[in-house]
């Protein structure tokens, strides 16, 4: 049970439950005015609600895949990383985008997890001298950078069939920052992976 991604599954289940709960979007989404009025929990819970079933499906799928991997690596520290990412993305949006009235979805956290895994894999392969895996990891990083650049330039999501929600690429940039910070803090734990 040690490697069982309990927290990841619980968070994904919470996102699914929020979609089923009638008041979920209203009560939990990031809404600037409500946050200003003291409903600060939305900085955390805004990530759990989604604009549609499709939006939930893709955000949760990526979260389950990446979260399971990171939870296994980080252990108890994982909960801290998730909280840090959630707050960093939401607080960043609050400060950097004062005109953004609402936001929802796990993709900011997905991006943080993605960067964390990317950093981990690149570091492990660098120390092990695995050139091909290192190149593949760097390619994935370039893919992420291209995705965000496209979102900024075109105002559209890349191959994301969620026409009911406009992308907020700044959330993904903030996710990158959170992922880098988390990966740097989690560096010691990867020593074990390298030596394994």
């Amino acid at each position: 049970m040690k490697d069982f991604p309990l927290l990841t599954l619980a968070a994904a289940a919470a996102a699914a439950a929020a979609a089923a709960f009638p008041a979920g979007f209203e009560q939990l989404s990031y809404q600037r005015e409500a946050i200003l009025a003291g409903e600060w929990w939305r900085l955390l819970t805004g990530h759990l609600v989604h604009a549609s079933g499709t939006h939930l499906l893709w955000c949760s799928t990526a979260f389950l895949v990446l979260g399971a991997s990171v939870e296994r690596e980080m252990g108890r520290a994982y909960v801290g990383f998730l909280a840090l990412s959630a707050v960093a993305v939401a607080a960043g949006l609050f400060v950097l985008m004062p005109r953004l009235s609402w936001y929802c979805g796990l993709s900011g956290i997905d991006t943080a997890l993605f960067v964390h895994v990317l950093w981990r894999e690149a570091e492990v392969e660098r120390l092990r001298g695995g050139r091909l895996p290192l190149a593949l990891a760097l390619l994935a990083g370039l893919g992420l950078a291209a995705k965000i650049a496209f979102e900024y330039s075109a105002g559209l999501a890349v191959f994301a069939p969620t026409p009911d929600v406009a992308p907020v690429p700044t959330a993904h940039v903030l996710g990158v920052v959170a992922g880098v910070v988390g990966a740097a803090l989690g560096g010691r734990r990867r020593d074990g992976l390298v030596g394994a």
């Binding site: 709960f21 009638p22 008041a23 209203e26 009025a37 989604h50 604009a51 549609s52 939006h55 893709w58 799928t61 990526a62 895949v65 990446l66 399971a68 991997s69 990171v70 005109r99 953004l100 009235s101 609402w102 936001y103 929802c104 979805g105 796990l106 993709s107 900011g108 997905d110 991006t111 993605f114 895994v117 990317l118 894999e121 492990v124 392969e125 695995g130 895996p133 593949l136 990891a137 994935a140 893919g143 992420l144 979102e151 330039s153 075109a154 105002g155 559209l156 999501a157 890349v158 994301a160 069939p161 969620t162 026409p163 009911d164 929600v165 406009a166 992308p167 907020v168 959330a171 996710g175």
Partner: protein, 667 residues
Amino acid sequence: MMTLKRTATVLGLALAAGVGSGLPATAAGLLRPVDAAYGDLEIAQHKVQVVINNGFAKTEVDQVFRNPHPSDLEARYSFPVPKQAAMSELSLWVDGRERLGEVLAKAEAQTAYEEEKGAGRDAGLAEKDSYRTFEVSVAPVRAGKEVRVRLVYYQPLDIDTGIGRYVYPLEEGGVDDARQQAFFLNDAAVGEAAFSMDLTLKSAAPVEAVLVPSHPEASVARTGDGGYRVALSSAGTMPLRRDFVVNYRLAGRPSSVELIPYREEGDKEGSFMAVVTPGDDLKRISEGSDWTFVLDVSGSMQGKLAALAEGVRKALGQLRPDDRFRIAAFNHSARWVVEPYTAATQENVGRAIALVEGLRPEGGTDLYAGIQLGLSGLEPDRTSAVLLATDGVANHGVTEHKRFLELMKRADVRLFTFVMGNSANTPLLEDLAKGSNGFSLNLSNDDAIVGQILLARSKVTHKAMHDVRLAVKGARVSELAPSEPSSLYRGDQLVVFGRYRDPGPATLRFTARVSGKPMQVDVPVMFPETDVRSPEVERLWALAKIEDLERQKRLGGDAAELEGAVRDLGVRYSLVTDHTAMVVMEDGRFAERGIERRNLARVGRERAAQRARAAAAPVSYAKAYSSSGLSASGSARLGGGGSVGPLFGLLSAGLAFGLPALRRRRR
């Protein structure tokens, strides 16, 4: 007043989701022989080109129909009247040449069409059936041959809270069986249409994102001038059953006034379109309220009720402890579903939802009875609102427009109407909302639901500007339309058209009241001697004026006098109205009949201007303003979500599990 916002949310959700998941929608787009013995004509092409620029949208619908029958036929084409549409061009192609129509008084146009048709000559006729449909007749459609029909209409832009919305209506609303039988209900023929949509968006204000919620398969690309192009095409199996909806998000702009003028050199009068975008300092409402839901459960709601119940469930689930609710339903009569006002406890909400879910759609639509019931028993010491959800027309009991308005006058309550689909009696529902200082929200089944809901919600949770007026000091401005003061909710723009005689500097004065407190803003503007970049503004002014006159008629004005005024404006500015029609015939026949080619000249000016605009960068007419009353803070409020897709999922899986697996294998 969280209650208000949530109720709006519910209704928006219910209505929008309801139609989306409800009845099999019927489609527009058929050219049907008038002689019912013959089957429908085939649609060889349905090409739509839209240009959004300079404050208005131009929609050009170019269609080719094929007559598979052995006889020449007269055929008729019908499509829903788009919101505030000035239908300006009807063309037929005869021997490869375009024949453009001219607008005459309706009876005169009908006679001319019948005579041309009777003489065996090519002819066409475009008429308007109130708020319901434009109907285009064509004769003859030669046996085994094709006929090409082209329509053009203009609409002022619909921008709310910084979000632009364009709808190309294709879905019939399902509220009029006879109409469906006559024009819409034939999926097989519709399914053969080769449909293409090409929308060009030019904007002086930066566009941040574009969404096509109705057709996610459409391609969206940014153009070199900072605009966007949306394209969708089908090789031959595109059912024309769904509205085409495009949303675009503008970058934040300060409080602004846009003045788009048109004046030819030497003209005595010019026209203008003024767009006022107020700032974002309307305060949030905090006290609890009483909510009355009035739900349409007539037969046309078949298939939509489950979703309507779901929407009500979501709304009730969000009421605050100091809010109360009750629910009425109506079809051929009205009755309470939940009454009296009930505290929004979990138990009460659960019981109410079960009752709403048990409603069954049937019968006619006694809208009057529904509203009358909803307005009864209001408590004067509480803030009250009535939310009416309907997709139809009043066809049972009291149906006179004037009686509805009188009913609303007797109540001190705001009415918010949620109008779903393309066939509802929008003028009536808008008049009712306006008369109570509420608002009316049109929803397509294909709208982006979350965005629409949040827009509605932000309106009802904030104080509104009432008694909003626009006046101009100087330039000898006259004929403002709309002439009546209005209310502006959060995110709304005020769009006013007018005429001016003296070019030169003037002051545009915007006045309103918020919570009884008056506010005023003066903005200096310049009315040019000559500006020929937007000749379409003249038609849009005439249409706004016509809508004003029609509203006066609905309110009980002198019908004969007002109809005459509408007819004169329609003929002069070549607009298809309830009292004018556009007739197409061979060019020589216009001269022989002594019909002045007003529209030909007007269209020539418009097309020349459109060519010039297409080649030029978008022009900004906006002028920012600031005052203590209407602050210059950013006005566009944006929303969105993080977005990942299957590609990101695959990349993630490869990274998280693929690379470690590869490592293990190499080890």
